[in-house]
């Protein structure tokens, strides 16, 4: 591949990671987003050098172990050099890892933006605060992007690979900073936080309050209002920050890697997401397709042979050396093997067609074959990384 002669577009994940500072790994749940993020970061630390951080949301225990992460927390830990030595690699740079702790991150954010200690404590101890930070639809999405911003701004890393939280809708986190800004600057919020007495006097608001009081009870409404009133003291800081986060996502140093499998639901989500990136003029760096069946299921003439194994296993068994074992047993094995091949061949054929469709997009497309085992160490991660690297 004469990559050198073609300066643009970027032709491999290696080049992509060498040119960007932030890589956002996204896609629907269960497609291997976290593993892909970790593998890409491990490869970058090994081959490109510098300080590389992988920020994950909720890694599988084994993956966390593979990265040497034991405790859940916002503290970044360096993956020990020993892990690389065991994998037979000599890394050029350092690999760091951290897991996102939503609650902790929110608390930190409040501490950073509260105007004074009294407000800070009032917010942190507000009964609604925990519920809201834990459940507010966009809170996880927002905080992940907020942490990313903070880590990038700290100047501690050359490259940050971030995994996105599992959301009902993959684009939620793209819109989270914007929505957060909208939320804090909305008229309704300001109106809600107007002292209760003057509010009651506003005729326009009366129907709402009559109904809301009857449904929720006025005490609950007051709790909500108090909470928002407290939160509003952080308005400027929050809105400014949310805008900065949006700018960072749009920055040319940031790229998005869309991860998917070839199953219909994740793929539909991935396509939807690719469109959303285009619409927002965000940079789609690569598409990584995980759990792709190997090409051996599409080998010329193999399907016909497999069919023969299922239709006439006894004949095939008879043509094979006798020392294999009891011919009836050999025939049973041949039939099973043939049937299994035909089953997977159907899936592989379907996948091949889908892959061709996706390959029409000009970006990097990497296909990662099915790993039959689980990834348990850095070596496994790097092995996966090799598949998507060049």
């Amino acid at each position: 591949m004469p990559r050198r002669s073609a300066p643009a577009p970027v032709g491999s994940l290696e080049e992509l990671l060498a040119t960007r500072e932030i890589v956002v790994s996204c896609g629907s749940g269960g497609v291997g987003k976290t593993t892909t993020a970790a593998a890409a970061a491990a490869m970058a630390a090994t081959h490109l050098g510098g300080k590389v951080l992988v920020l994950t949301v909720d890694p599988a225990r084994r993956l966390a172990n593979a990265l040497g992460l034991e405790a859940f927390g916002n503290v970044e830990t360096q993956v020990p050099a020993r892990a690389f030595t065991e994998a037979g690699r000599e890394p050029r740079g350092e690999l760091w890892a951290a897991m996102l702790d939503t609650k902790q991150s929110w608390d930190d954010l409040v501490r950073a933006h509260a105007p004074d200690e009294a407000t800070r404590d009032a917010i942190l101890s507000n009964p609604l605060y925990q519920n809201i930070t834990g459940r507010f639809v966009q809170s996880h999405d927002y905080i992940a992007m907020e942490r990313l911003y903070e880590l990038h701004a700290s100047g501690r890393y050359d490259l940050i690979v971030v995994d996105t939280p599992p959301t009902r809708n993959a684009i939620d986190f793209l819109e989270a900073p914007e929505r957060m800004a909208e939320f804090f600057s909305s008229r309704l919020l300001r109106w809600l936080t107007v002292p209760a007495r003057s509010r009651v006097l506003t005729m326009a608001s009366k129907p709402f309050y009559t109904v809301a009081d009857r449904i929720l009870g006025s005490k609950f409404l007051e709790d909500i209002a108090e909470f928002f009133l407290l939160f509003q003291t952080m308005y400027d800081g929050f809105v400014e920050r949310a805008k900065a986060v949006t700018r960072l996502l749009e920055d040319s140093r940031t790229t998005f890697v869309v991860v998917s499998t070839l199953e219909s639901a994740p793929l539909a989500e991935a396509e939807f997401f690719i469109d959303a990136l285009k619409e927002r003029r965000l940079h789609l760096g690569a598409v990584v397709l995980n759990k792709v069946l190997p090409d051996l299921f599409l080998a010329d003439g193999a399907a016909a042979a497999a069919q023969r194994l299922t239709k006439a296993p006894e004949e095939v068994a008879a043509a094979l050396p006798a020392e294999l074992g009891d011919p009836a047993q050999v025939a049973r094995v041949l039939r099973e093997v043939g049937e299994s091949y035909l089953n997977f061949q159907v899936v592989a054929t379907r996948e091949a067609a889908t892959r061709r469709e996706i390959a029409a997009a000009p970006e990097v497309v990497a296909a990662v074959p099915y790993f039959t085992g689980d990834i348990t160490d850095l070596g496994g991660l790097l092995e996966l990384g090799e598949r998507i690297w060049r």
Partner: protein, 314 residues
């Protein structure tokens, strides 16, 4: 195990990507085929339940998509309107538009309000007895406890008001194992099994809802019986030309494919074994095989319904 469908309200959940909607659609279809008047409700606004029955888009108002089978999509704003007109007898329904938008905003910010409008509507359908069974294509494992615990949370947060009064009967329905249960869908892989086991604990700790069953989805077939694996090993050692001649074509990819299938099955079996070992004793586990031919659409739904029926002993 046929009594699973004798409950009145089943929440089907699971980690993203395990086939939650497929199982919910199949379970509802099976119930309808068994003569139960069934409502299947999709919670996720961006869901695709309709695709599983090859029918047009579903809406808040249930529509019959197959004999005995009605489908709907949850819409909290519609649920609020219905609630207001049914419960409060408020003559506001016509001009509720802007109010509902405002309410939607508060509901987004105030914990539990949206959830209770969802769970409340589902419990309402059970209470009204318009259906024998309500199957819910619920939110994923990460969000389900928040939804199911909403009535409890509201009861604690809201001291007075109509919403609080409503939580009582909802909790009666949700907390009755004869009426309500959760079905967790797991694929035999590491993370789905982890999340299933974690959810079982959280359901017990944070909600009043009973665990009805676990569905192990996409289970790969066992290739070899006793002694056959040894035969397979010997087959692998034969030279290509001998194999190809007997098979009448390239045999090596077929054998390598089988090797892959065997090792996939092996790692997955280990995860299934862990699932079986760590679930509370007596939890029914229903096994649904990997569907090679079709992975979605009405055909897949029909096949899943048939497999679930077999597992339940129909």
């Amino acid at each position: 195990m046929t009594d699973l469908l004798d409950r009145r309200l089943l929440f089907v959940t699971g980690k993203g990507g395990v086939g939650k909607t497929t199982i919910a659609a199949g379970l509802a279809l099976l119930a309808a085929q068994q003569g139960k008047r069934t409502l299947v409700a999709e919670i996720d606004a961006k869901g695709n339940l309709a695709d599983f029955y090859e029918t047009g888009p579903t809406a808040f108002r249930p529509r019959e998509v197959a004999p005995n089978l009605f489908a709907m999509s949850m819409d909290t704003e519609e649920s609020l309107k219905e609630y207001l007109s049914l419960q409060l007898r408020l003559p506001l329904v016509a001009k509720i538009g802007p109010l509902a938008r405002t309410f939607d905003f508060v509901a987004n910010a105030a914990p539990g309000v949206k959830e209770i409008l969802t769970v409340g509507k589902l419990c309402w359908e059970v209470k009204e007895r318009a259906y024998d069974l309500v199957v819910v294509d619920a939110v994923a494992t990460g969000h389900i406890t928040g939804q199911l615990a909403a009535p409890t949370a509201i009861k604690e947060l809201v001291q007075v008001g109509l919403v609080r009064e409503q939580t009582g009967w909802m909790l009666d329905i949700l907390g009755d194992p004869d009426q309500t249960g959760v079905v967790i869908v797991a694929a035999p892989e590491e993370m789905p099994v982890n999340e299933t086991l974690e959810l079982v604990d959280r359901l017990a700790d944070e909600t009043v809802v009973d665990l009805a069953a676990v569905v192990a989805n996409r289970v790969l077939p066992e290739l070899f019986g006793r002694g056959e694996e040894e035969v397979f090993e010997r087959l692998l050692e034969l030279p290509d030309d001998v194999l190809d001649e007997a098979a009448g074509g390239p045999a090596r990819p077929i054998l390598e494919g089988a090797q892959m299938a065997v090792s996939l099955r092996r790692t997955r079996s280990a995860h299934l074994a862990r699932l079986r070992d760590e679930l509370p004793p007596g939890t029914p586990i229903l096994y649904v095989p990997y569907l090679f031919q079709r992975s979605h659409g009405a055909r897949a739904t029909a096949q899943v319904a048939a497999h679930l029926g077999e597992e339940l002993g129909f």
